[in-house]
């Protein structure tokens, strides 16, 4: 297994509040191959994003990001853009489950969108609970996710965890 990376650094793309999963993957695209789906991720909110996003970039989104449908393909499509991690003031709860289950690193920072402008250079450490905007010189310390969820991420997602650890159900007790 490759090293578990928990620190990310890159250009940030900012998005507003209450963005639904429909904006990540429209219903019309859900049956398309991922190569096609990924060309349209968040295009209604920033048409440049799917065209210009670079590997390791960081998405910073407002309150209740990924609301509406619980379909994991919305998180998978965001991961497929190659971003390093996603930060939100607060994720919708199904989206929060899904990012860990599909292996996309994430961090909740209650005022994240107040701290960044689109294009700023940011540093995120999901294990330490660190969010820093290098461009503006501001940072926040927040609680990291539960150990069970970090373990899931380290394994590469929920399915990978259950297949690599026969005692996965006990892991939650730890």
């Amino acid at each position: 297994m490759s090293e578990f990376v928990t620190r990310f650094e890159g250009r940030c793309w900012t998005f507003g509040a209450n963005i639904p999963t429909d904006a990540l993957v429209k219903s019309a695209y859900v049956f398309d191959p991922m190569e096609e789906i990924v060309k349209h991720v968040l295009e209604d909110h920033n048409p440049r994003f799917p065209l210009e996003v670079q590997p390791g970039d960081i998405v910073v989104a407002g309150h209740h990001f990924g609301q509406s449908s619980g379909r994991a393909i919305a998180a998978k499509a965001l991961k497929a853009t190659g971003i390093g991690c996603v930060v939100s003031n607060a994720f919708s709860r199904t989206f929060y489950r899904n990012v860990f289950e599909i292996g996309l690193p994430s961090l909740e920072v209650p005022d994240a969108t107040d701290l960044v402008d689109d294009g700023d250079h940011v540093v995120v450490d999901i294990a330490e609970g660190l969010f820093r905007n290098e461009t503006r010189g501001v940072e926040r310390r927040v609680p990291s996710a539960s150990p069970f969820l970090l373990r899931m991420l380290e394994a590469g997602g929920l399915i990978a965890l259950t297949q690599s650890d026969p005692n996965w159900a006990e892991a939650a007790r730890a």
């Binding site: 429909d22 219903s27 619980g70 994991a72 199904t94 539960s146 069970f148 997602g157 939650a172």
Partner: protein, 424 residues
């Protein structure tokens, strides 16, 4: 412990659990619709693939399609049928109804059970006193199907206490719409909501149904109504209905209680672009509508057709309006038939559609052109969800939908209720 904690403790083999704990619990039911079943089945076959130990626990309802309009959609449905046959899971095919109305009507979501599903409105089954939570496909494919289990974080509880008696023309659906505005979209992320108070306790089962369905819009994990005599009577009327596993909370004091008096509430309408953009009907009266629909997660109940018939019996809908009538399940249609409502609404100019989720996501019907508007009992009004991003979806009660269908524009149902109906 409260109801959610008791159910999670029992299903995870623990003495007790408390808010913040992460537990792995036994799941009683997984429900998927025609879109989510396809994606989940694909992930399962590609990455898991073992025989399902509990195939009976998995239920698929084709509700976005009652008759596929394209070859591609027909292929998707056929792959779902083939998957269900191969894996031995339960399938309700086209024409059965809305996913959740079908599940509960067949006694497949019961008090005390843990019900999970991909559909974001799965928490509606808290209406029977189940712990019902929407999960993602990878939970379903990765743990629910192969192990019969899922992981949960135990949520904090908020009580929503409603009092007051509604005035004529205002319905429980108006209260539900209004609550989303009052509490705020995404305002209670991860929380469990207990709907309580004399107003809730005084409602029949199918009117209680309208409250836990709001959880997704509020951001809540789940919602429920403590099972009582109303719940028992409803469950015992169902095929396979059983209250053997019914659980009640201990009634411990709850720190966060939100109290609302709904007695003076006028009829409410959620205008685009989101479900929290709720206004008293007066604010939007006169807005032209070309479509009106009774169906979806917030409608399609027998109660909705009974209310609509109060307005429409002996009247005709406006010539510019098409009124879609979409029963939530086959039982609703049978009962509407017996009550004469099928004929009444037909005579009024409405069109009956097969039991399904109707215009939800426009899979089978309900696309609008730029500039068109629909008023409906659906639960979503994001622009672009029903065709053009320049079309508008307004969400309202069955009374307001019916009154608007007659007027050709959004109308205040109180006028139609207080005038009475000369033909009744």
């Amino acid at each position: 412990m409260n109801l959610v904690e008791k159910i999670l403790a029992r299903a995870s083999g623990r003495e007790s659990v408390s808010a913040g704990d992460v537990v792995v619990a036994e799941v009683d039911r997984l429900v998927m619709h025609d879109l989510s079943a396809y994606l989940t089945g694909k992930v399962y076959d590609e990455r898991v693939g073992v025989d399902l130990p509990y195939p009976d626990r998995v239920v698929t309802v084709f509700d976005h399609h009652f008759s596929p309009p394209t070859e591609h959609q027909a292929d998707v449905l056929n792959r779902n049928r083939e998957w269900a046959r191969r894996r031995g899971t339960q399938l309700f095919d086209c024409g059965s109804g809305n996913i959740h109305n079908v599940l509960v009507q067949h006694g497949l979501a019961l008090p005390g059970q843990i019900v999970v599903g991909s559909d974001s409105h799965t928490p509606v089954h808290g209406a029977v006193g189940a712990l019902a939570v929407a999960l993602g496909n990878d939970s379903h494919a990765g743990t629910v199907m192969p192990f019969g289990k899922a992981w949960f974080r135990v949520p904090e509880l908020i009580q929503i206490e409603l009092t007051g008696e509604l005035r004529p023309g205002t319905t429980p659906r108006d209260v539900a719409l209004w609550l989303v505005k009052e509490l705020g979209e995404g305002s209670v992320i991860y929380k469990a909501l207990e709907f309580t108070g004399p107003f809730i306790k005084g409602l029949d089962f199918w009117d209680r149904w309208l409250f836990p369905v709001l959880c997704v819009d509020l951001g809540a994990k789940c919602g429920y109504i403590e099972p009582d005599e109303v719940t028992r009577a409803f469950v015992e009327s169902l095929p396979n209905g059983s209250v053997d596993r019914l659980v009640n909370g201990d009634g411990d004091p709850v720190e966060d209680v939100r109290r609302f008096d709904v007695g003076d509430l006028p009829p409410q309408v959620a205008a685009p672009p989101t479900v929290g953009n709720v206004h008293p009907v007066d604010d939007v009266v006169g807005t032209p509508v070309q479509w009106a629909e009774l169906g979806g997660h917030g409608g399609g109940r027998l109660e909705d057709f009974i209310l609509a018939a109060k307005v429409l019996r002996g009247r005709r809908i406006h010539p510019d309006v098409k009124l879609n009538l979409v029963p939530g399940n086959r039982e609703v249609f049978r009962q509407a038939l017996e009550l004469g409502i099928v004929a009444d609404l037909h005579e009024a100019g409405g069109t009956w559609f097969p039991p399904s989720t109707g215009s939800n996501q426009t899979a089978n019907m309900g696309a609008m052109s730029a500039g068109e508007a629909m008023i409906s009992t659906h639960s979503r009004n994001f622009p672009g969800r029903n065709g053009s991003t320049e079309a508008s979806m307004y969400l309202a009660s069955a009374l307001t939908v019916a009154a608007s269908a007659v007027a050709g524009r959004i109308a205040d149902p109180r006028r139609y209720v207080s005038e009475g109906n000369p033909h009744e």
